[in-house]
């Protein structure tokens, strides 16, 4: 279908195919001062182990992007973190699906506009870049408010001048475990759109909307979500040194507005020689749900009744520093880093969830010490979640990978 969408001349042309392959992973030790019912906790894990491929043909008119995620084996019970939420995991980040993305894109010109059609499993056109492609090791609480990923997705994009518009159709269901494929029978029950403007080089401003049907119930009987997102991103040197800053706002409502979750996040980095200093502020709401017996970091999926206990607001400050041991190049890249987070939680509005009873307090510390290992030229530049025209546009404001 994608090939058919290409101009006949391109199909005949063939072009010069190319491909890149890279791998990346983070060996990290993390300590968190409070965990549900369990006091302090520390662990060492290999997180975000990924194999990333990108191939082009027909002079880049045909592209395939793929990322295989091995967290199903390295963190089957999730990653220790502060305040993270999603896919049944609470206070631990869930492992992503094994086929994290596999998307083919056809890109062509229509007059002065570049157009693309992308299809496969991956990210819908919504929100900001995946946290795995940004600064901090710690996934923000707002991961599920600011990204839509691991869906069967079809995205059309138009890029003309400084304006890019994308529209995605996808299935609403979130995967519940790493091996689970999207519910293809629900493809098209949800949609999203993202408008991005690039007024000057290094600056992008984005606004997104998504209508997601029953994300938390695979068969489609759960409540739907309306999602809004807006962000601004700056990627231009400051005082002659690489500088990056991004601020985003997200809002998700569910159950015809019965539930509403908001998020504000700002982050930035500044490179001093081979050292990268970074900081992230986040204030995000998350739902509190009934937990599973004996598994206080898991909630029941699917819900068998109303199990929401209230909404909490998490405020986090995360600062870190990374050092590029192998800045001279080569296929092996090593980036040791240290990252410290301080967080607080409070019940937002009415509800029966008691953070003090659950955690033994309302403030948290988290410290991570690790090293990011990259293999391959594109280990730190592989662009996840941007397909077709979005891939080209992001070259204008590429955000730095963490650490």
């Amino acid at each position: 279908m994608l090939l058919a969408a290409l101009p006949a001349t391109l199909r005949a042309q063939g072009g010069s195919p190319s491909a890149t392959l890279a791998a990346r992973g983070i060996l990290v030790g993390t300590w968190v001062s409070r965990t549900p019912l369990g006091g302090d906790q520390a662990e060492v894990r290999l997180v975000q182990p990924m194999l990333m491929a990108h191939a082009t043909a027909y002079d880049r008119h045909l592209r395939v992007t793929g990322t295989v995620d091995f967290e199903a084996w390295t963190i089957p019970d999730g990653e220790l973190t502060i305040g993270m939420w999603g896919e049944g995991f609470v206070d631990r980040r869930h492992p992503h699906t094994i086929i994290h993305e596999l998307v083919a894109s056809g890109v062509g010109q229509v007059g002065s506009a570049t157009v693309s059609l992308s299809g496969g499993k991956g990210f819908a056109a919504f929100g900001s870049d995946d946290p795995a492609n940004r600064l901090t090791l710690r996934y923000p609480v707002n991961h599920h408010w600011s990204q839509l990923l691991e869906r069967a997705v079809l995205t059309g994009g138009v890029l003309t001048g400084p304006v890019m518009l994308e529209v995605s159709l996808f299935n609403g269901d979130e995967p519940a475990y790493p091996e689970q494929a999207p519910n293809f029978g629900r493809f098209g029950d949800s949609w999203s759109t993202r408008l991005t403007v690039f007024p000057v080089h290094g600056l992008q401003v984005e606004a997104s909307y998504a209508s997601v049907q029953s994300p938390e119930h695979r068969d489609g009987s759960g409540t739907g979500q309306d999602k809004w997102h807006a962000s601004g991103q700056w990627t231009r040197p400051l005082a002659g040194r690489p500088f990056y800053a991004m601020a985003e706002w997200a809002r998700t409502t569910e159950g015809d507005g019965l539930f509403s979750y908001q998020s504000l996040l700002a982050e930035g980095s500044w490179d001093v020689g081979r050292t990268r200093l970074y900081y992230q502020f986040e204030r995000t709401d998350r739902p509190e749900e009934e937990r599973i017996f004996g598994q206080p970091t898991r909630s029941i999926r699917p819900h068998i009744e109303d199990a929401t206990l209230g909404t909490t607001t998490w405020t986090l400050n995360t600062a870190g520093a990374g050092y590029d041991l192998t800045a001279g190049g080569g296929d092996l890249r090593l980036r040791p880093f240290v990252e410290v987070s301080y967080a607080s939680v409070a019940l937002s509005g009415p509800g029966v969830f008691d953070p003090v009873a659950w955690y033994g307090g309302t403030d948290f510390w988290g410290v991570s010490l690790g090293v990011t290992v990259g293999l391959g030229r594109t280990a730190f530049t592989h662009l996840m979640g941007r397909y077709g025209v979005a891939e080209d546009a992001m070259e204008r404001t590429r955000a730095p990978h963490h650490h």
Partner: protein, 581 residues
């Protein structure tokens, strides 16, 4: 007289020259000239029937070794043997080989010599040899309810060749017939030589066997056999669409109304005759999806005049415990069972319906409306499309921020309400208004779930985690004239929720369903001894958990209609008649 004098003289002479004559005053006798003491071997450990070399040192009064003296050895306990004599060497030490007896435990010997006042005492600990035999100990031949754990564990005994218990032997347990499960696949023998396991019987009512095996040990494997008696017997399974699943079932006149969230009401014939169904083979009659579709529970209303036209359906929409809820009560006309149709509804703004109870004599429907409290509706006569005009009264017993009513039930003229936040209440409806008779704020440590009242007692469940406290308690309340008084609690480990509670019509069985944990399923207790103090009879575990359990007596038998949660949601019909005391 002369005889007496001679005796006194003789005795005086004896006291002067012979020790001990005429008395026991040793202070007047000679002191021992030698001392014998332990030199080696005391406190040692050896395998039974093994040997240990004992050594005794003989010294003179000045503490110098005595060489060449004969030491006499003897066994005090343990049944072993020892060299009868040995001679001291230059160091004053004499040795002997203590051959231990066959009994594990302390074995004692002693050594003595001429001129010694007290012997040297030796204690050697004999330990069992390697396990050589595995034998059946206790637990064989029991009878229990199919699907339930047996009252006593199976035990095997590992022993050495002399029948001493052997600790640390790993025993592998296997169910070899009848199904069921074991508390552990292996267990290790204790210091008493025993390894145990608990057998939860499978569904079979025939003999069920389990073997215990320890490699290379005579007698292994050992086979235990117990018999499963009919307890909770699954007689029928009716799958429902795999969305959120089945929430509740209402049973009356041979019909089962299945309340399937997001799908509607499914009517099955279980003996009514309308579709030829039976308890063991229910037949689908029809279905209806009320507006919204979040069907949670139902009540087929039999009016005093004989009308059976209306089915009241409670819908449970999205909510947040303690603060928000949604969903209405819908009225379905079931005059034509083959084509039921919705004809009315009642909505309470800002709150959602949960369980309902109908006072059919006085034609009043009482509904739990979570944060909206309890509502009374007039359901007499022909009902309008909007039942707002039929509202008689409402009450939020816990007050603002402390009301989230799960269920209501009429009992002996009063209305009892279980409030997730504020506990168990006794209310009264009269002359168009509710009043509080008593109770409330009496379960602060748990969220309260369902309720039932019978025999002068009330029974309430628990839900989820309240802080760190799981809702794993079934509370028993005495219902007098005022506030309910807590008299007992039944704690079920391995769950977080007691999701539904009911007493059988004869008042003899207390049935409750549980969710979220390894012991989720159906639990049956006896009330025959005392309705205030339930005693466990048996259980039927369902890994997904059971959301509700409706108890009905049909043709003299007692059935439970239980809602199995996703995945594979279904109505499970159990026959529990045999459990009736």
């Amino acid at each position: 007289m002369q005889i007496i004098r001679r005796m006194l003289v003789a005795c005086t002479a004896a006291l002067l020259f012979l020790p001990g004559c005429g008395g026991s005053d040793s202070s007047t006798g000679p002191t021992p000239t030698r001392v014998i003491a332990v030199a080696s071997g005391d406190g040692e450990t050896a395998v039974v029937v093994g040997s240990v070399t004992l050594g005794a040192r003989l010294t003179d009064g000045a503490g110098a070794p005595v060489q060449g003296a004969e030491v006499t050895w003897s066994v005090v306990s343990g049944g072993g043997s020892i060299n009868p004599t040995s001679t001291t060497d230059a160091a004053g030490v004499a040795t002997a080989t203590f051959a231990l007896g066959q009994v594990a435990g302390p074995q004692r010997a002693r050594a003595t010599a001429s001129g010694v006042s007290s012997p040297a005492a030796f204690t050697v600990t004999a330990v069992a040899g390697p396990a050589s035999q595995l034998t059946k100990s206790t637990g064989d031949g029991q009878s229990g309810y199919a699907g339930s754990p047996l009252a006593l564990p199976y035990a095997v005994l590992a022993q050495d060749q002399y029948n001493n218990p052997v600790a640390g032997v790993t025993v592998n347990w296997t169910v070899t017939s009848g199904g069921g499960s074991l508390s552990a696949p292996t267990s290790v023998t204790s210091t008493a030589g025993a390894a145990t396991v608990v057998h939860t019987l499978g569904p079979s009512v025939t003999a069920q066997t389990v073997t215990a095996a320890a490699p290379s040990i005579a007698g292994s494997p050992v086979t235990f056999s117990s018999t499963g008696a009919v307890g909770i017997q699954l007689v029928s399974t009716v799958p429902v669409p795999a969305n959120y699943g089945l929430h509740d079932t209402y049973v009356r006149d041979g019909l089962a109304f299945l309340c399937v969230w997001d799908e509607g009401i499914f009517i099955y014939d279980i003996g009514n005759g309308v579709a030829g169904g039976t308890i063991t083979a229910p037949r689908f009659v029809s279905s209806v999806k009320t507006a919204g579709g979040n069907v949670h529970n139902a009540w087929w209303y039999h009016a005093p005049g004989g009308s059976k036209r209306y089915l009241f359906v409670g819908e449970e929409g999205p909510g947040s415990v303690g603060s928000a809820s949604s969903g209405s009560i819908h009225v379905v006309d079931v005059s034509n069972l083959a084509a039921p149709v919705e004809v009315g509804s009642y909505t309470l703004a800002g709150a959602g319906a949960h369980n309902v109870w109908v006072d059919e004599v006085n034609e009043i429907l009482y509904a739990a409306f979570y944060n909206g409290g309890v509502v009374a509706l007039d359901v007499s006569g022909t009902l309008p499309a909007n039942l707002a005009t039929r509202e008689l009264a409402r009450i939020r017993p816990g007050g603002d921020g402390n009301t989230y009513v799960w269920g209501v039930m009429q009992y002996q003229g009063d209305i009892y309400a279980s409030d997730m936040l504020s506990g168990f209440w006794r209310l009264r409806y009269a002359a168009g208004s509710f009043s509080i008779v008593g109770g409330g704020n009496n379960v602060p440590e748990r969220y309260t779930s369902d309720l039932w009242a019978h025999n002068g007692y009330g029974y309430t469940g628990g839900w989820g985690y309240r802080g760190a406290q799981a809702g794993n308690a079934l509370k028993v309340w005495q219902l007098g004239t005022g506030a309910p008084a807590l008299v007992d609690s039944v704690i079920t480990s391995g769950i977080t929720t007691v999701s539904d509670v009911q007493v059988s019509a004869d008042g003899k069985l207390l049935v409750f369903s549980t969710e979220n944990g390894p012991n989720a399923g159906l639990h049956v207790h006896s009330l025959a001894g005392s309705p205030g103090h339930p005693t466990p009879l048996t259980r039927y575990l369902v890994s997904q958990g059971l959301h509700t359990a409706t108890v009905e007596t049909i043709a003299g038998r007692t059935y439970v209609f239980a809602a199995r949660n996703p995945a594979s949601p279904a109505l499970l019909i159990f026959d529990i008649t045999s459990l009736t005391p």
